[in-house]
């Protein structure tokens, strides 16, 4: 069991797991227990520079672009309904191979068609983000953000970022109005 963070908190991954080179970032939530359209949640990752923008659209990793950061970051797939144990979506990151220009990985989750289905994160139970050491699978840090969620349809769950020679993880838990499109634009992606 890793460090449990609350909103705004951060932890040094490098100190918690010395020699860390590869991490798996897991995101999860409970499937809908009530009747109605399932909650279809999608994780996306923005690899951003110091200015908070992506180097190119290739560094916006989501369901239609599963690999970015010159191959160092891989989104392993979508679980549409949240069924099953543990993580619903996982992202593999080879920290040692991340381009030096990339300073931060921003992990976001959006509710597919959330606005038209009138779904929001406040309706989703037990949403979390966690960071594991790919070597051995031990959990390093975790953030349960259900309580920080409300009417948002897009949320930044957390960030993995460089801090000097260290890698750190920050629990963000912040909503973003408008969904995936505006979120991508905000991070410098050319959305058609």
């Amino acid at each position: 069991m890793g460090v449990s963070l609350s909103k705004g908190g951060n932890v040094s991954l490098s100190k918690e797991a010395p020699g860390l080179t590869n991490v798996i970032v897991g995101l999860g939530w409970d499937p809908r227990a009530t009747d109605g359209a399932e909650f279809d949640l999608d994780a996306s990752i923005f690899l951003v520079k110091d200015d908070g923008k992506v180097r190119s659209d290739q560094d916006f990793i989501f369901y239609n672009n599963k690999i970015g950061g010159d191959g160092s970051v891989e989104h392993t797939g979508d679980n549409r309904s949240g069924e099953g144990e543990g993580d619903d979506e996982q992202v593999k990151v080879d920290l040692s191979k991340l381009p030096a220009e990339v300073k931060k990985l921003v992990f976001c989750v959006t509710i597919h068609e959330g606005e038209s289905r009138k779904q929001s994160f406040g309706q989703v139970s037990n949403a979390f983000i966690r960071v594991m050491n790919a070597a051995g699978g031990a959990e390093i840090a975790r953030y349960d953000l259900s309580e920080d969620a409300s009417v948002e349809t897009a949320m930044i769950f957390g960030e993995v970022y460089r801090h000097g020679d260290e890698w750190k993880f920050k629990a963000v838990g912040q909503g973003f109005a408008g969904g995936l499109g505006p979120l991508a634009k905000h991070h410098g992606v050319n959305v058609g």
């Binding site: 009530t34 929001s120 406040g122 309706q123 409300s150």
Partner: protein, 425 residues
Amino acid sequence: MTQLTKGANAPVNASQPVVRVRFAPSGPVAEIDVSAFLLQGSGKVSGDTDMVFYGQPEGPGGAVRLTSQNAPAAGGVKETTFSVSLGAMPAGVEKVAVTATIHGAGRGVSFSQVASLEVAVLDGGSTVVTYPVETAGMVETALILGELYLRNGQWKFRAVGQGFAGGLKPLAESFGVSVDDEPEPAPPPQPAPSARPPSVPRVGAASTGNSGAAPAAAPSINLSKVTLTKERKSIDLTKKASGGYGEVRINLNWNRNQAPPSGGGGFFGFGKPKGVDLDLGCLFELADGRKGAVQALGDSFGYFDGPPYVQLSADDRTGQSADGEWLRINGRHWDEIRRVLVYAFIYEGAPNWAATDGVVTVYAPDQPPVEVRLDETSNMGMCAVTLVENVGGQMRVSREIKYFQNHKPMDEAYGWGMRWTRGSK
């Protein structure tokens, strides 16, 4: 006041909040049943006492109490309230889910037909949090309206607004309450009253994995409510296992704050419109032939522990008491009672029965509540509502709804045979 949208939450700082559910009745949805489920961290109940509803109006330790149900409120809405004592919440309870189901939802009826539905948390009469549920397009017939929940030592309220199209059963099951369906009884072949009580869904807590706890016969909560109508006139109540009926409570409740009728009085008065005062009373006849009336008029309040084994609680002329008037029948002495005719009368004011929206409910231990609505109109001031009679030892409750000018013609109509003179209270 915080107004929440679906999914949002807000802190609740009151130690004894009131949770209020209001809805606007419509043609297909005249009533909703509101329940509260006390849930563990697992999201399940710990036992069948954790469900608070009309059949079990108080939860463990009195932490959650149903204090009014479908009571008429201003603006033509009906409201149900729970008093919550957060300090008295049993250990392990982390959430109280407040739910609404459409009573006897028929085909095609759902919450989309409820134009207005709102859940609110109040503290000392002022609204702290409110959540107007967007019902448009809803196919659900059972809804989780909202939940009070504990988070890092702080109680909060979340607007949920999700539910089930399949009614109470899947809703209760989602909280770990198992519901066993029993088929609806076949309609009786004749208009004669059925000889046995209807089968009703039996509800008990599903085994929640209490180590070593005996999986005893769990079913004990009876979710059913029986409404007697012109079509279904009577029901025979089942005796308790110990024999007898225990304390049978009969309630008369009505709308005290109905708007003054247009063209009538009320426009020149100050403060609240004067409501109609209904009085509850009964005629009794004992097995040994003794007869009499129990009513506030004439100070005949009866006696519970001795003959006539029927007692009226103190008269509530002001309408201050939210739950109306109560008669109690001592069912342990049921074999000494032949029949009890329960009536309502309007002592003062115009007999505007329709506006009172009155209802008489018979509560017998371990039985579904039996409701009779005063849903007919008359210009006469007295209404025989319910006849409770001893039929071969069984307690039969029948709907009457017959209007009379006063006691005398009612007595004559039922062959009671008493002498009547005018009295006043």
